[in-house]
């Protein structure tokens, strides 16, 4: 159902909530000098919860094209919106007791976080290339500021600059790709583009132009998801940004990037024929995606092996995880799509958990070096246990949740007979085991480095750790709801 602007507004409450909250945060920040540090986080949390409520209950089960075909309201977008809101919420909670951020003025941080979340929500439902580009730029521009948030810190500034340069080039080339597509098909709407490709047939267009347009477009998506060869910004940016921001960047914009990638591939470039996906284009998409995926995970894992700075290691590990998630897109099946969502869902908890531990340890030790984690078990047993679980989960060892993510991705590719692809994926998991275990080794097996004072973990952070541990530990037993949720979120594409 196509809705006009006014009709659409009542389905736009989640985004509106965030916009209002963002403005309120800015006003509170300049008018209540004493209360702002308490009010702003509360406002942000409330806004995220309200937006989640609107998304989960009020908009539940609605299918429509809003704003005259700019945004899609569907279960797929709903999944991503809830995912992104949850990620934002966890990051807000995790940033409250981060010494890195407490050193600087916090007001804008929450406004920026709300803005970036808004951009990502729009990314998740845009079906129009113009909106897609605008929302992606909203996310990018705000993240540049968040990365450079530590004004006095040289690394943070450098990271921000690198991010801007990379971002400008990749989004610019993506925009050029969009313009080529528009030139060929005369439309910015993904469905119209697909129909144009379909009705005229691929042969009706200049092959080189198609290739160029798609490669340029992929560059933009690759940048957001940090897929090889568009990943170069990632390690420096992740290492330089304040840790909560890194945690956020490693999960949320990546997920939003996958959302638009899926929309683009599955709505714009493919047609359904029964339960199979036929590709509109003459390009061998699976092969391209296999190549990107294999390169991404292999390069990420191998580069992570030699990192001594935990933030950099997790940066490379997040590149590798993007590779695993891409595995699910290769097969272009409903199962593959579902596996991507599942992977992202479990990745959220394990990766945010790992970064939370890094934040907590930095709070008291002022270090990201793995060497300074030696003997942590004595100083913070619970923290060590939590980190152990997160690392094993990232490795993909059962019974932790990360295993299920890997399992579903492998199920999807093996179902299509891509055994070698799966073998490469699993061997990568074995390589990854080496550096994840290195963290555990440092914390548990190595003797201390002289420091014996117990490490202080604030109550809030402890509660948050528990909240992140629980999904990692128990999802394997209570798995069916997640399975059903993700399955219903991809119904739209699998045509079931």
């Amino acid at each position: 159902m196509l809705m006009d602007n006014l009709q659409s507004l009542r389905y736009f409450y989640p985004e509106l909530t965030l916009i209002v909250a963002m403005l309120v945060v800015v006003i509170v920040d300049i008018s209540f000098n004493r209360l702002r540090n308490v009010l702003n986080p509360l406002l942000t949390i409330a806004a995220l919860l309200i937006a989640a409520y609107f998304t989960a209950y009020v908009n539940h089960g609605q299918e429509a094209n809003l704003f005259l075909g700019m945004l899609a309201l569907d279960s797929f977008a709903q999944f991503f919106k809830l995912f992104l809101l949850l990620a934002a919420l966890l990051v807000v909670l995790g940033s409250l007791h981060s010494e890195e951020l407490l050193q600087v003025h916090q007001g804008e941080f929450f406004a920026l976080l709300l803005a970036v979340t808004l951009g990502m929500l729009l990314m998740a439902n845009s079906i129009n290339l113009a909106i897609l580009y605008l929302s992606l730029e909203l996310v990018s521009l705000t993240s540049y500021i968040m990365v450079g948030y530590l004004k006095g810190d040289r690394l943070s500034n450098e990271a921000s600059l690198k991010y801007i340069l990379f971002g400008a080039i990749s989004t610019g080339s993506m925009l050029y790709g969009f313009s080529l597509i528009y030139g060929m098909t005369g439309s910015l709407n993904l469905y119209t583009i697909r129909d144009a490709f379909l009705s005229q047939g691929v042969q009706g267009f200049d092959q080189f132009t198609i290739l160029l347009a798609l490669v340029l477009t992929l560059a933009g998506f690759g940048f957001k998801t940090a897929a090889v060869p568009f990943h170069f910004w990632c390690p420096d940016v992740y290492a330089g940004a304040p840790t909560p921001v890194t945690a956020f960047l490693s999960v949320a914009p990546k997920a939003a990037g996958f959302a638009i990638l899926v929309r683009f591939l599955f709505s714009g470039m493919t047609q359904t024929s029964g339960s199979e996906w036929g590709l509109v284009n003459g390009i061998n998409w699976p092969l391209v995606l296999i190549g990107i995926s294999v390169l991404t995970m292999t390069l990420g894992n191998i580069a992570a092996l030699t990192q001594n700075n935990l933030k950099r290691m997790l940066a490379y590990s997040s590149i590798a995880h993007a590779g695993y998630i891409l595995m699910g897109s290769v097969v272009l099946t409903g199962e593959g799509l579902k596996s991507m969502l599942i992977y992202m869902f479990v990745y959220l908890f394990m990766n945010l958990g790992a970064f939370l531990v890094v934040t907590i340890i930095y709070n008291s030790d002022r270090s990201f070096e793995i060497g300074d984690y030696h003997g942590m078990f004595k100083r913070a047993p619970f923290l060590t246990f939590a980190m152990g679980v997160f690392m094993l989960s990232l490795t993909g060892i059962p019974p932790f949740a990360g295993f299920l993510g890997k399992l579903y991705v492998f199920l999807a590719v093996i179902e299509k007979g891509l055994f070698w692809f799966a073998v490469v994926g699993t061997l990568n998991a074995a390589v990854a085991a080496f550096y994840y275990m290195r963290v555990i080794k440092a914390m548990v097996l190595e003797e201390g480095n002289g420091k014996t004072a117990p490490l202080h973990v604030s109550f809030l952070n402890q509660a948050l750790l528990v909240a992140l541990l629980i999904p990692n530990l128990i999802l394997v037993v209570f798995w069916n709801p997640i399975e059903r949720w993700t399955a219903s979120s991809v119904k739209l594409f699998s045509g079931l």
């Binding site: 078990f377 059962p398 492998f410 199920l411 093996i414 179902e415 073998v423 074995a430 275990m437």
Partner: protein, 502 residues
């Protein structure tokens, strides 16, 4: 009503580990007692499995099936037959003993130690009782983690190196197995991970795999298992892990963990991929024989007793593999029997090595000599265990080795001849080691006046020794319970191999 006994036995150690969390970490006595009583209770609860086991039923018993993830056909499905029964019992029997053995020798981070030991027990039991490939894989991997910590935290000097090596070796093997499990799942229609269902589909010809497909799947499973066994040339992690692990770790490693590899071969490789098995048998037997002789030769030149015992494991496990891939009743039963023997004898050897290490803080053979005069009781136990490991008639090792060789002889004479030389070599290195450690003059002053076995240590060794004698004198108790399961497995193997040949 569903039979929950196996589930209770499997998860009781986990419950114990959870309870341990609640105890303050400096309350060592309570921690040790709780760990010991959990393990003992698990052992006692596992005894009914033995007594109520119907020897005449070839199929699974004490089965329990609960739906888990229906959309991809994963069930919680456990059960045991005559093959896994004894491995379960071996695990529950050895765990309390290892806890007793680490009573005083573990004095750092005691609480974590026992937590990991109990978690490990759950993992090991799970592997033996799982009848769902997904569940099997979960337990298979779960077990890696506590073992990694046991070696890495409480091990010897190069413990961290050994732990990481152990972890990466096994992890690499097992991820390939995961691919094979998923591939098998889709070949079978992508509806269930249930082992028995897939097995019966193979049996009835509903699931027919080409020889090439079988070979790939077979190899993926086999390599994962071969690393665990460890079969030559995948054995290099073993000496490191064994030498660096604390005594209890070595006992568990030798006693149970290695058996998972051979158990996996019996349970999965043979019945599911019979054609590929036949295809690869010559190679595997060759590797097994090389392992037998190589392990024995390397053991002979070791200066460290623990390293010697570790290499003897490579040799002994070669016999087990040889027995399995003889694919006949004697060979298979011998192999299973030899798994138990090796668990008990080598476990006991490691315990004994641990006992002298506790006294002298060295394991070098040259440091000892003439222990018989100062430690008569110890030396007697040591003698019995050594002889059992060599395979002296009337002790357990003989029965297993004899059956294996009998089976292997039927299958292939040449291999058997070479393998037999391994027995002679084992007598050489074991007796030579025993002679240098126990007999002769007391050459080292520090060996005088060492205390003989304490009550706790006797308590550890007496049940082991009794089992060694019982299994050697009256093997019927054990063999008759496995007969029907083994013969069913073999007849299935023959029939599917024939179905495919047509």
């Amino acid at each position: 009503m569903e039979n929950v006994l196996l589930t209770i036995v499997t998860f009781l150690p986990l419950a114990g580990a959870t309870l341990l969390l609640a105890i303050r970490k400096d309350n060592l006595k309570a921690i040790r007692l709780l760990a010991l009583s959990t393990a003992t209770a698990t052992f006692l609860l596992s005894l009914p499995l033995f007594f109520h086991f119907e020897a005449s039923t070839p199929g699974m018993q004490f089965e329990q099936l609960v739906t888990w993830i229906p959309s991809i056909g994963v069930n919680y499905h456990v059960g045991i037959d005559g093959i896994s029964l004894f491995l379960v019992l071996l695990t529950t029997f050895l765990t309390p003993i290892t806890i007793l053995s680490s009573w005083n020798s573990i004095d750092r981070r005691v609480k974590e130690y026992f937590i990991f030991l109990l978690l490990l027990e759950t993992g090991m039991l799970g592997v033996f009782v799982a009848l769902d490939l997904f569940l099997f894989y979960v337990f298979w991997e779960v077990m890696l983690v506590p073992m990694y910590f046991l070696i890495g935290v409480w091990g010897g000097e190069r413990r961290i190196y050994a732990a990481v090596k152990f972890f990466l070796y096994t992890m690499t093997g097992s991820v390939l197995m995961l691919v094979a499990i998923i591939a098998l799942y889709f070949f079978n229609g992508g509806t269930t991970f249930d082992y028995l269902t897939i097995l019966s589909n193979v049996q009835t010809g509903k699931l027919i795999l080409t020889v090439t497909e079988q070979s790939w799947l077979f190899l993926a499973f086999f390599i994962a298992f071969a690393i665990k066994v460890p079969l030559f040339p995948f054995h290099t992690w073993l000496p490191d892990a064994h030498v660096e692990a604390p005594t209890a770790g070595s006992v568990i490693l030798a006693g149970v963990l290695l058996k998972m590899g051979t158990y996996g071969m019996v349970r999965f490789c043979l019945p599911l991929f019979s054609e590929a098995t036949l295809e690869w048998t010559p190679w595997i037997n060759g590797l097994a024989v090389v392992g037998i002789i190589y392990g024995a030769l390397v053991a002979m030149v070791q200066t460290d007793i623990k390293r010697l015992v570790a290499y003897s494991s490579v040799s002994h496990l070669g016999f087990v593999v040889l027995g399995i891939f003889a694919v006949n009743q004697q060979g298979m039963e011998g192999a299973i029997y030899q798994m138990l023997n090796h668990g008990i004898s080598t476990g006991a050897l490691f315990l004994i090595v641990g006992m002298i290490y506790d006294r002298r803080h060295t394991r070098l053979i040259q440091e000892f000599g003439g222990l018989a005069t100062s430690l008569p009781v110890f030396s007697t136990f040591f003698m019995i265990v050594t002889l059992s490991s060599i395979g002296l008639p009337l002790l357990n090792g003989f029965v297993g080795e004899f059956l294996v060789l009998l089976g292997a002889f039927k299958a292939n004479v040449t291999y058997t001849v070479f393998a037999t030389s391994g027995i002679i070599l084992s007598a050489v290195y074991m007796l030579w080691m025993y002679q240098r450690v126990v007999f002769g003059e007391v050459t080292n002053e520090r060996n005088k006046g060492l205390p003989d076995l304490s009550l706790r240590e006797k308590f550890i060794l007496v049940p082991m020794t009794l089992l060694i004698i019982w299994m050697g004198v009256y093997s019927q108790t054990f063999l008759r319970k496995m007969d029907s399961s083994v013969s069913q497995l073999l007849s299935r193997f023959q029939s599917t191999a024939v179905v495919l040949k047509k």
